[in-house]
């Protein structure tokens, strides 16, 4: 394979990807990301100022493959769909070399090998334009603000969970469950006596202990149970009390 000396300029953060070749062996590339192989093809066709209904397939295929090679040489991962498109292009290109009559159907109509690709490009182009329209709409919409929170919002928000939320939450539970099981195996047991000692130390040095914070340090369910028993024990036997300033607020263990 012939080694090309390609001089490259990169700008990964421009809004629209851009390649320009000033001489055959020099390619300037401004790389946002093409949204897909059709996006890249459209770009190349426009670049060539080619007629969509009469795509110079050999030329466009070459350009397309050059881009793919470039991305590979830069170790930029390309979606498999880009590779699939290369194969499609090469196939069309080779069909174009054959005498046209081969593609004539029973009625003698000649089917252009590029036909299906053109249809796809035209269809895709519509949605790409629609995407641009959505982009503009959202930009305008972002300049408009709804009123700030008022008291009634918190007391009565809408139920807006979707089935997707249900599934996502379920998967998180499963993942968490798996993690917990592994941790319980790894960790050493903490005895009630140890737990009592630890808690007393905390309370008597800091004068108080936020239970939520304390529980947050605990890793396993067994330890949690031990901690809970330890709290009951400490409240019963030592001069400490449990306080909670607001309903559902933080619970604090305080030295009396």
């Amino acid at each position: 394979m012939e080694q090309q000396s390609e001089q490259l300029t990169f700008d990964f953060y421009t809004e629209t990807p851009h390649i320009s070749a000033e001489s055959p062996d020099e390619i300037k590339l401004e790389l946002g990301a093409f949204a897909g192989p059709l996006d890249l093809l459209l770009y190349l066709i426009k670049q060539e100022k080619a007629n969509i209904f009469d795509i110079p397939i050999a030329k466009i295929t070459d350009e397309y493959l050059k881009y793919i090679r470039l991305m590979k040489s830069l170790d930029i991962s390309l979606a498999g769909d880009f590779i699939v498109m290369s194969a499609t292009l090469i196939e069309i290109k080779s069909k174009m070399l054959l005498p046209r009559e081969i593609f004539a159907d029973a009625a003698g109509e000649i089917e252009d090998p590029r036909r299906e690709l053109v249809d796809r490009l035209l269809e895709y182009e519509k949605f790409k334009a629609a995407a641009q329209m959505l982009y503009e709409r959202s930009t305008v919409e972002q300049a408009v603000f709804p009123r700030g929170k008022i008291e009634s919002d918190e007391t009565n928000a809408e139920t807006n969970a979707t089935v997707f939320d249900i599934l996502t939450v379920f998967q998180k539970i499963l993942a968490r469950h798996k993690e917990e099981v592994q941790m319980e195996i790894e960790r050493e047991e903490v005895s009630l006596a140890d737990m009592l000692k630890l808690m007393k130390q905390r309370i008597f040095t800091a004068k108080e202990l936020n239970l939520l914070d304390f529980f947050a340090e605990i890793r396993t369910r067994r330890e949690l149970v031990t901690a809970f028993i330890a709290i009951l024990e400490i409240v019963r036997t030592e001069s400490v009390k449990l306080t909670q300033d607001v309903t559902f607020g933080a619970i604090t263990l305080k030295k009396v």
């Binding site: 949204a35 629609a130 709409r137 997707f164």
Partner: protein, 186 residues
């Protein structure tokens, strides 16, 4: 003014307009004329005209707020021209923009809904899994049941948040997809 029948104690249109304004204000989402009519126990047409009256009043007032039709209902919001000051006050930046891939996927879903993942692939020519995940996370699209074909794939459509975020009254406000034709033709 319209109501002269003294059956219960008909409210003046001006009172209805005032109450409609109060309700649109407290609602945390665009509120429908239907909903307003129910709460007020008034005719839908009557309420509709009250809402329109209110909108005109806001337009004429030259204030900082506007009333507009959005996602099937009505909402009060700030006017676009004051976005810089509002943003400065809220210390917000414009939301992270959707990637090109996500926008394309969203446009396919908006126009072809309900649509499956393979159908989106067919149009875009590229896998759209991570774009779909982004759109689901942002609640712009929702699952719309399964298609009764091989594999019973999940179908997707746009959500109410989609209408809100793109400032649409309803889906019919989207320009027709055929309007985007011929861009490349010539």
């Amino acid at each position: 003014m319209d109501l002269e029948n003294e059956e219960k104690k008909p409210r003046e249109i001006s009172e209805i307009v005032a109450i409609v304004e109060a309700l649109i204000f407290v609602a945390d989402e665009p509120i429908t004329v239907k909903n307003l009519a129910e709460v007020l126990g008034e005719d839908r047409e009557f309420v509709q005209s009250a809402v329109e009256h209110l909108r005109d009043e806001y337009d004429e007032r030259d204030g900082g707020l506007q009333i507009r039709a959005l996602a099937g209902g009505w909402q009060i919001s700030t006017k676009t021209q004051y976005h810089e000051e509002v943003r400065a006050f809220l210390k917000t930046r414009p939301n992270a923009k959707l990637s090109l891939a996500a926008l394309e996927t969203l446009s396919v879903i908006a126009y072809k809904q309900p649509v499956t993942v393979p159908e989106i692939l067919e149009i875009r020519g590229v896998q759209s899994a991570s774009a779909i995940k982004t759109l689901l996370d942002k609640r712009l699209i929702v699952a719309k049941g399964r298609k009764e074909t091989v594999g019973r794939p999940m179908m997707y459509g746009t959500s109410k948040d989609f209408l809100l975020q793109f400032g649409l009254k309803d889906l019919s406000e989207l320009p027709s997809i055929e309007d985007f034709e011929d861009l490349l033709g010539q």
